[in-house]
Symmetry: C2
Subunit: 404 residues, 2 copies
């Protein structure tokens, strides 16, 4: 038997596993250290009570013969699809049908698995820095080519996100087929305006490209004029797939629920990408837990929405505390306004990993090195607003009192 040789091109470990290992080593040698983890983008607030109540009810249904549910439909149950359509799209003037929404166990799964429906021959454009999953899944699929000394991949077209362009990439000068965009961005925390997205939609429609739009952080948008969905942009339905998640919106990282929107207008010749994804999911996926689907439905109730807002405000405030504190400490900071992520420049002469080590050593604060998100992330660092308010304050105080 022969393996998929593309796997051998990948670095042996995933960014967050490397961080976890480094922190464990530090913690083992410093058992009394009060470590504060502002690295991984995982939530810490409990689930909204509306979801907890809904899950108790659903669990009871699963224990009763007359209300027991077996295999869910692969694409999701009507009750949750209808809520998504109404609250996430219709309410913002976007016309999306329920059969254009595919419920899943996570945006990571979907952004990874979506490659199944595309040819290996497509030219992929990725931002740099970028969420590593987009890169690694394309390396696995054979769309990346070989790694260059710079750490970049030979077949990718890179979209530079730099301090100079405020981390909003310019259009590629060549023709590309698949374009990964994520706004509000992970890791930089920057959001895109309608005008900014229109530029990409026009490019994609002109060149027959598909935009793979990751909107997992849309709930953090605080400026009312910013788009929450790419489908707010005219023309997006013929060129975009959108990935959404309940993980960051409602704290579902531990219960697993997300969804992907593929408009029926999105065609490649006479083939509907919606049909291809429906076939992919029907063949390789068996739906989301009934209990989780009820939990997701509940966040669209009046109480649910209020509880979600409370959590989002909590994290947003943390992000502001971090951003303000870093600025006080003399750092240059981006993001944190429409995002849980603060992105900042590390002191001159240090690499991102140098700063990771120094920060851990001097303040016991764990962050994420920018270079873990791509070569252009070198010299930057990410802290997240997902910690507790108390620990976030404490972390900021420690950073302000440290000398780097």
């Amino acid at each position: 038997m022969k393996i998929n040789e593309n796997f051998l091109k990948l670095q042996s470990s995933y960014l967050f596993s490397t961080i976890a290992k480094k922190v464990k080593e530090y913690s083992d040698s410093n058992p009394n250290a009060q470590i504060i983890r502002l690295g991984i983008g995982d939530v810490t607030r409990p689930l909204p009570q509306a979801s907890i109540d809904a899950m108790h009810k659903a669990v009871d249904e699963m224990g009763n013969e007359s209300t027991f549910r077996g295999y869910p439909p692969e694409h999701g149950m009507d009750f949750i699809l209808e809520k998504i359509r109404e609250y996430d799209f219709t309410s913002r003037g976007i016309d999306i049908d329920v059969d254009e929404i595919f419920l899943s166990d996570g945006a990571k799964s979907d952004t990874g698995n979506i490659g199944d429906i595309f040819s290996v021959d497509n030219v992929v454009a990725v931002c740099d820095p970028i969420y590593p999953v987009y890169v690694d899944t394309n390396v696995m699929a054979g769309r990346a080519g070989d790694v260059l000394p710079s750490g970049r991949w030979s077949k990718f077209v890179y979209l530079n996100c730099t301090a100079e362009n405020d981390f909003l990439p310019e259009l590629p000068t060549e023709k590309v087929d698949l374009i990964y965009l994520c706004f509000p961005n992970n890791p930089t925390g920057m959001a895109a305006s309608k005008q900014e997205l229109k530029k990409w939609v026009d490019y994609a429609n002109k060149n027959g490209s598909v935009i793979l739009y990751d909107a997992a952080y849309e709930a953090f948008i605080s400026q009312d004029d910013l788009p929450r969905s790419i489908f707010e942009i005219e023309g997006a339905k013929t060129c975009a797939i959108e990935f959404r998640s309940f993980s960051k919106t409602a704290g579902f990282t531990g219960v697993r629920c997300a969804y992907t929107v593929i408009p029926k207008e999105l065609m490649c010749g006479d083939v509907s990408l919606n049909n291809l994804w429906a076939r992919r999911q029907a063949t390789k996926f068996n739906g989301v837990s009934y209990i989780t689907q009820r939990a997701a439905e509940a966040i669209y109730s009046e109480q649910g929405m209020a509880q979600v807002k409370q959590n989002i405000d909590y994290y947003r405030n943390n992000a502001k505390v971090i951003s303000d504190g870093l600025k006080d400490a003399g750092f240059t900071v981006w993001g944190a306004v429409n995002s849980p992520y603060a992105w900042f420049k590390v002191p001159d002469g240090m690499t991102s990993w140098d700063f990771f080590d120094v920060l851990l050593e001097k303040t016991q604060v764990v962050g994420t090195p920018g270079s873990g998100f791509g070569p252009a992330g070198e010299g930057f660092f990410r802290l997240t607003g997902f910690g507790s308010a108390e620990k976030t304050l404490e972390a900021v105080e420690r950073i302000k009192n440290a000398k780097f």
Copy 2:
């Protein structure tokens, strides 16, 4: 952009979607028909009370700040992996480490996604008849070639399962790389002895092949001398991957939990397949709901095991009722002893789909046409023991009283 053209080779709809559509049409034109569904292999008994109790507790933990859990590890939490190791392997004399077990949201996902780690150039051997997912996922990946007039695929090596060989396939005469085996079998309901499996393990070790062993139905084995895991066979650790599921064992179809075992000894040259799958899952999967993992853990408790046994016995009895009834009605029947599935020959002169229509028309019983599982399934039919005892009895009575 270019799509994955292999998708266009697939039939437009999945077997069970076609059945659902036909039943809906019948039901729409016959609104008073008392339809009994013994087609899809979905469970109907409520979840074991031990799992219900565990889920209520886990839901409460998720609603409390001090016990809330975020992202689970992609490969599963220690508490459930330890139970799996102890009860499913150690207790049967099999030495499997926790890091050889990968928890997931379903065996369908895993048997579909496992292809990611293998080269497109591998020669795939599939049984005929077969669970369609193994075939369709390899068509999507480009390992199937083109469909022939017979309904078979040009690049596959077919392992015939016929009445003549008691639906236990012979070894291929050529060299193959990936071999899909499923015992107790879906759809035929036949189980394999240790001697039978040893034949495959020896073949695979000799030829450097990998056996993709689907043991989703092992809980239905009633004959004590039959293997429940391929790892009961000497030499299997260097040539086999095993897929297990809580769906059929404990009725988890609606809550989604399964696992895959890849021994560390399974190598391709100096590359460990366990490492490749770990990387695949870390990149494209984000773990199983914490609540579901607690539900799975609970089935290994004393009460849990007793409740699971009760459900399995219930379905087994249904399968026996079906098998006995079909025999009384003059049919030749296989399976149903170590399996929830009864597999039988349709009356001479009819195709499997003919019989599907006639059975629905004359008895309002829904089954699964054998030809839906491959060309060699033509002339056979599957009924499942997953219905209620009352409806199963009623279905059998109707069949006995009908003339075909």
